[in-house]
């Protein structure tokens, strides 16, 4: 892809995840000098800033998959008030009650497959294929920051107010993106996530911003 990039296409999301983990392992070991960006996506991993793309491409088929090492870092818990305007519609698509939809969503373990759309916006997988939902036919012109939303196989949290076509099921006070914080992104590719039901805040409280 271009002069100094490689777009590696994998069989599916799980293979892309494993390949991405292997790339990070090799980069940490100093085996990918010069590579500036490693960008996982739905079924691909992009490497940009590759000094000799043709040579790296030729090497890839010979890579032995690394050991499935235990993931460092724990699970990020994101408290959610399941009060989204599309919760009832999502529950209906799933053929369950809204309460059951909340139970399904909050008992799954998610993983950030990739980021995009906006800084700190992660595409999280973790629900079974039967829980996929379409985007809304008409996107909303403004989705509030902290909205927890579903589209296709993914769950996402809007880091800031923006237009959006995802189905809104809840709200979190967690700060997804803060450039004054290190790291700025709460969620980055590979992060494991659980959504925990939070009670609606009583009047006068709530996270300060």
């Amino acid at each position: 892809m271009g002069e100094r990039a490689l777009l590696v296409e994998l069989a599916d999301g799980a293979a892309a995840e494993a390949f991405h983990a292997e790339l990070l392992r090799r980069r940490a070991a100093g085996a990918l000098p010069g590579v500036r960006e490693i960008v996982p996506a739905a079924r691909t991993v992009l490497l940009d800033g590759v000094p000799e793309p043709a040579r790296l491409a030729a090497e890839l088929p010979g890579w032995e998959p690394g050991p499935r090492h235990a993931r460092v870092g724990g699970v990020v818990e994101v408290p959610v008030r399941y009060d989204g305007p599309d919760l009832a519609e999502v529950a209906a698509r799933w053929g369950v009650s809204p309460a059951e939809a909340v139970r399904i969503h909050s008992s799954a373990e998610f993983r950030v497959a990739f980021c995009g759309f906006a800084p700190g916006f992660g595409y999280l997988t973790g629900l079974g294929a039967r829980y996929e939902v379409p985007r809304r036919a008409t996107p909303r012109t403004a989705v509030p920051a902290g909205a927890v939303a579903l589209a296709g196989p993914y769950t996402g949290v809007y880091p800031r107010s923006s237009p959006g076509g995802w189905q809104l099921i809840g709200t979190t006070d967690a700060v997804l993106w803060d450039t004054a914080r290190e790291p700025a992104a709460l969620l980055s590719p590979g992060t494991r996530v659980r959504f925990t039901p939070a009670a609606a805040p009583s009047a006068g409280t709530g996270a300060g911003r």
Partner: protein, 287 residues
């Protein structure tokens, strides 16, 4: 604030702070950003003795006007334009001294689109993720300049950089973009690929820091359906459903779901950033 600062008297159509951007965060959805014509930005910085990666101003179409609070060294490059201090002409494309309190006027681009205004010491706004660049896609970095805004300056280098006879390639009458096909050229018909590399396109007025939009023959797809989101690179020629190609510039999104038919050589993108609407564009395949 001390006197190492400039006041914005006339912000112009769109003037932003830029440096060489914030690469390395694409996996978090953060665009690279940075000066659209990096060769011009680097040269302007060198002329005033700055590090090549110092923050400077990138104007669009009609320049800007500034009033430095202390005497500064300034170089204006990129798009050729008239430069004046309190009405007196200053040379374009070389370093010049501007006295404290004088009005520095950077006029409309005579050719090209974007002028670079480097000031000794650089623009010293707070960096975000290692860069002072304004990213218009995601809103990172300082806001575009507004009339009356005050920009802090860094400490100027003691000695001016030595630059002799710097080359300033003029903006092109015809923009020739060397491309390598792929990664998704197989999503397009043979006719579309021939059209891309043989027909004339024109720079659309809808172009911006995110992408150079083109008017011309629509590229037909050989297959329907959607491409799962994948990583995008600088210079990617993305083809949305209307078939009109868009060449991704510095503020491009890091992932996208429209197929990329080809990628433009990075060395050609500075000229792309200077191409005014209506400029003819030709894509040529290069190894």
């Amino acid at each position: 604030m001390n006197d190492r600062a400039v006041t914005v008297v006339r912000a112009g159509a769109l003037t932003t702070v830029q440096d060489l951007g914030r690469p390395g965060y694409a996996h978090l959805g953060v665009p690279r950003s940075g000066a659209l014509d990096p060769a011009a930005a680097r040269l302007a910085n060198r002329l005033v003795g700055n590090d090549e990666g110092a923050a400077l101003l990138e104007t669009t179409v009609n320049g800007c006007a500034l009033r430095p609070r202390s005497a500064v060294t300034v170089a204006v490059g990129g798009a050729p334009c008239a430069v004046r201090a309190d009405g007196r002409p200053l040379p374009w494309g070389t370093a010049a001294r501007v006295p404290a309190g004088a009005l520095l006027e950077v006029g409309p681009a005579v050719r090209g689109l974007r002028a670079y205004v480097a000031i000794g010491g650089g623009i010293a706004v707070d960096p975000v993720l290692g860069s002072r660049s304004t990213d218009l896609l995601s809103g990172l970095g300082p806001a575009p300049l507004a009339d009356g805004a005050v920009l802090p300056l860094g400490a100027a280098a003691a000695a001016r950089g030595s630059v002799d006879a710097p080359p300033w390639p003029g903006p092109p009458d015809e923009l020739v973009l060397r491309v390598r096909l792929g990664p998704r050229d197989d999503w397009f018909t043979g006719g579309a690929l021939r059209a891309l590399t043989t027909r004339a396109y024109l720079v659309s007025p809808a172009s911006n820091r995110i992408g150079l939009r083109l008017d011309g023959p629509a590229l037909r797809r050989a297959r329907p359906g959607e491409l799962p989101s994948e990583g995008m690179v600088l210079g990617a020629v993305q083809v949305p459903p209307d078939g009109r190609p868009v060449v991704f510039l510095a503020d491009h999104p890091t992932t996208g779901g429209y197929p990329v038919v080809a990628v433009v050589r990075e060395a050609d993108l500075g000229a792309a950033a200077q191409a005014v609407p209506g400029t003819p564009v030709r894509f040529v395949t290069a190894p």
